[in-house]
Symmetry: C2
Subunit: 340 residues, 2 copies
């Protein structure tokens, strides 16, 4: 991101008919959005949420409150438009594209489903690596390709989302490895497990890290050993956006695990990320602190799918409109103040 235009953008924000800085984070969002895109006068972007779906071998340990088949069932729900992300994306004026990144199910063709299946789910990470290094690379490259394709089709603001029963477990493992925090610090209740199941989940994550010894400096290694195919796709989508200077809205805990992988591979990619919300999952705060990102919303969400990112898109649009639609002091004949 070229920060040379910061002062010029700030001057315009300060000339709008409001006390300086009084629109707080909306002004900050406008500033960041314009710096990322490099546009002199930003337009309301075409928006899309990419929901990456994948299954997880570790579900055989009973770490989720939902059975594994819910992953493919929810893919159908997305394609029919009935899930939370469909409702919130419509509300935000964003399209939903579902990506089969590694679901243990064969889908028929559908125009809204992008099939980029790396495998029929990951392997059980307490018995060895979740996937091969080559599969991890393949998953990331798929995400990059999806981003490039979307940007070429005219999308100007992308968001990450995911579906994968059991995927708070790999997300917690990735977070523990990359941030250096203990699994107990970064592991939460996911879709809703009791305290006994939570303790078991923490033990499984500790075991997976011990057995696989992922290298925290090597994002591909971490992803292959304790990751997931949907998380690989998310990391790739983020990297693709950063490469093309397109802003990307990162959803909650699972998506931010993908952002951690992207950041490990390319630290400047974080400049292109908007953190949408603060999830209920306790590890999310630690992820965001690691990335130096401040979330826009804090609404006790823990659904995933991209729901927080879709809501945040409406706020980013609002910030762009503030920049382009408000009158200036001189134009509106309003007396300027002498604020400090």
């Amino acid at each position: 991101v070229d920060t040379k235009r910061e002062a010029e953008i700030q001057a315009h924000l300060d000339d709008l008919t409001k006390p300086k800085g009084s629109l707080g984070r909306l002004e900050e969002l406008a500033q960041k959005y314009i710096l990322i895109t490099g546009a002199s006068w930003p337009k309301i972007p075409q928006k899309a949420v990419f929901v990456f779906a994948g299954d997880h071998g570790v579900t055989e340990e009973g770490i989720s409150a939902f059975p594994k088949e819910v992953t493919y069932q929810m893919v159908y729900n997305f394609l029919r438009g009935g899930a939370g992300i469909n409702v919130l994306a419509r509300h935000a004026g964003a399209n939903v594209h579902v990506v089969d990144a590694g679901v243990d199910y064969d889908f028929e063709k559908n125009q809204d489903l992008i099939i980029k299946k790396v495998d029929y789910g990951t392997k059980n990470m307490i018995k060895g690596p979740a996937m091969t290094r080559q599969q991890a690379v393949e998953g990331i490259l798929n995400g990059i390709e999806i981003a490039f394709d979307a940007i070429q089709r005219g999308y100007g603001l992308l968001a990450t989302g995911e579906m994968g029963i059991g995927n708070t477990t790999p997300a917690s493992a990735i977070t523990a490895v990359i941030t250096g925090k203990s699994p107990a610090c970064v592991t939460g209740r996911g879709t809703g497990i009791d305290s006994d199941a939570l303790n078991k989940k923490i033990q499984i994550i500790e075991q997976a890290i011990n057995i696989n010894q992922p290298n925290p400096c090597d994002g591909i290694d971490v992803l292959s050993k304790v990751g997931g195919h949907e998380i690989a796709g998310i990391a790739g989508l983020i990297l693709g956006c950063a490469a093309k200077k397109v802003p990307v809205v990162v959803d909650g805990f699972i998506s931010t695990a993908g952002a951690l992988i992207a950041h490990t591979l390319c630290p400047t990619s974080v400049q292109y990320m908007f953190a949408s919300h603060m999830s209920v999952e306790q590890g999310h705060r630690i992820q965001l602190e690691h990335l130096g990102l401040k979330p826009l919303l804090d609404m006790d969400l823990r659904l995933g799918e991209g729901t927080g990112a879709a809501l945040a898109m409406t706020i980013i649009d609002a910030a762009i409109k503030i920049y382009t639609e408000m009158a200036t002091f001189s134009g509106a004949k309003v007396s300027p103040g002498n604020e400090v």
Copy 2:
């Protein structure tokens, strides 16, 4: 608010294709909205923001970073559609109606301006009451009438906003009196004054309270002695909404001072209020705690006008859509979980 339907509403929320409670505050908003309106199946409401404008005699003490004439200049800016509230209300699909509640200026007729001028600004409250008791009552009744009229014209969700150079001073005074906190605790920098000016502002508020001795148990007395005409209108709008069982979105610090007055006059009115955001003004947190309301957004806003309320309206719409547009587990053939 009739809470008998809580269980039925919760049962529907729990049947939607998501882990129970995973949409957090969106579910809470849907629950509250439906309980307020009493509708069995909520529709997206027609929305309007009412921006009450008034001037303040206390500005002659130099407590604001902006000159007094900015109040009427900004009214023209609202009517031309160039202010922050115009941009954010358009974004939310809400209309903006401006109310001259007590501006020191004579406006010509305009279809978007409701003239309910109680006086040409308040008196300087460090020299005596800001207005008469009768004027306070008149201002509240105007607000109630505006709410009734709006509801009759089909609006289903109203929001409060305001414009009045100097009005963080009366808002702080009202807050100190009603919550029992010291003026220093509840007074902030408004549009942007330095530390010396802030100390002077606190002293003026202390002086105004000492001279006028407002009775914290009598909202009309507080309003007349240290209030403002726009704050009276806001209190009335809220009471009018509560009387008609229509939800009202309360903006930031000044609007919540109006909510404190409304609450003093009718404690159950708080059940109809949505607190839109947490303002930068330090007294806002104390106001919200007094009312027992939790804000939806925290975006470092301190512009007023109704800007935070307009943003929050987009989130309330999202919550209603979640309730009415998401698929159910049985309908979508998704296996239910066993969350705790």
